[in-house]
């Protein structure tokens, strides 16, 4: 194991988005996977990032205020004329 090859946890938390997005270069991805396989804690961090992304994606969208909707429908009527 050389010092160059092994990823640290500090590096892991900065590379995690590239890993999830699939934009890491092949050798970086391999170092990342190797770190995950050996580190007792970083899989938890990765999991928490994935949970966070999932939770962000399942937030219910804010609804449009009735006033705004009415104003827009009026604008639509005017456009339609």
């Amino acid at each position: 194991m050389t010092a160059r090859a092994a990823l640290t946890c500090l590096e892991m938390v900065e590379l995690v988005t590239g890993y999830i997005e699939g934009t890491l270069a092949d050798d970086e991805r391999r170092r990342f996977d190797a770190h995950l396989a050996n580190c007792p804690d970083c899989p938890t961090y990765l999991e928490q990032m994935r949970l966070t992304i999932g939770a962000l994606g399942s937030l219910p969208p804010e609804s449009v205020s009735p006033e705004a909707e009415r104003a827009l429908l009026l604008a639509f009527g005017a456009w339609n004329r």
């Binding site: 988005t17 997005e21 990032m49 949970l51 992304i53 962000l56 449009v64 639509f76």
Partner: protein, 231 residues
């Protein structure tokens, strides 16, 4: 008839930009062109909220954002005949929105010009996790490994509670503007990296850095929330 169009519109909104929705989207566009008010209402109800939040992220001002959303809908209706379907309707609408929000900010010039915001935020070098959570660089055994590792959050259903949702919403609202815009477009509204880069005129690298900062900060807030809850 309007039921059919509203249904179509709602289905489209749910599934975002899958290509097999193309026919449904064509029907929706035809309905809009022929002046079907219910199709327009469904579109407004589906996108209006996320549009306002994205505009507010960019404008940093709720009232200005509302104006921008109104303007955008008018521009969308006026541009509908020229819409060639090279992107999805949703992507097109949000592109118009972001462009208008950016020029509104520049017109009002309340702060730094929009174009330099992204670079400034991407270059600000805050670490994703507090540096104290790691062992020092000169640690003899585990330099830069966790000193205080993340603790599992337990069953993922914990994230579904309304309190957690509020915490996430407020964490997103507290983000710097460009990070907020990027995370809203990517994770809350479901646009791809390429679509987001196009709308915000960001390089792929800056988009990823902003997304990374934003997600990392939201994770931190959740971590703090779960740690406090357990006490």
């Amino acid at each position: 008839m309007w039921r059919v169009y509203s249904f179509l519109a709602l289905e489209l909104l749910k599934t975002q930009s899958a290509p097999d929705d193309e026919r449904g989207e064509d029907a929706l566009i035809d309905a809009l062109r022929t002046g079907d008010e219910s199709a327009f209402a469904a579109l407004v109800r589906g996108h209006g909220g996320p549009m306002l939040r994205v505009a507010a992220s960019i404008c940093g001002d709720e009232a200005l954002a509302q104006e921008v959303v109104q303007e955008t809908w008018v521009a969308v209706l006026e541009g509908l005949d020229g819409f060639e379907g090279r992107s999805t309707l949703k992507t097109w609408i949000f592109s118009v929105l972001v462009r208008r929000a950016a020029s509104a900010v520049e017109r009002e010039s309340r702060s730094v010009p929009f174009s330099s915001l992204a670079r400034a935020e991407a270059e600000a070098g805050e670490p994703s996790v507090e540096i104290e959570r790691f062992l020092p660089a000169d640690d003899t055994r585990w330099p830069h490994h966790w000193a205080s590792p993340p603790r599992p959050w337990g069953p993922s259903e914990r994230l579904d509670s309304s309190e957690v949702r509020e915490e996430i919403e407020s964490a997103v609202e507290d983000l710097p503007r460009m990070q907020r815009a990027v995370i809203r477009l990517r994770d809350l509204t479901g646009f791809t990296a390429a679509e987001t880069c196009g709308m915000l005129e960001l390089s792929e690298g800056n988009q990823r850095v902003l997304l990374h900062r934003a997600r990392s900060l939201v994770r931190r807030r959740l971590e703090r929330y779960f740690a406090g809850e357990g006490r």
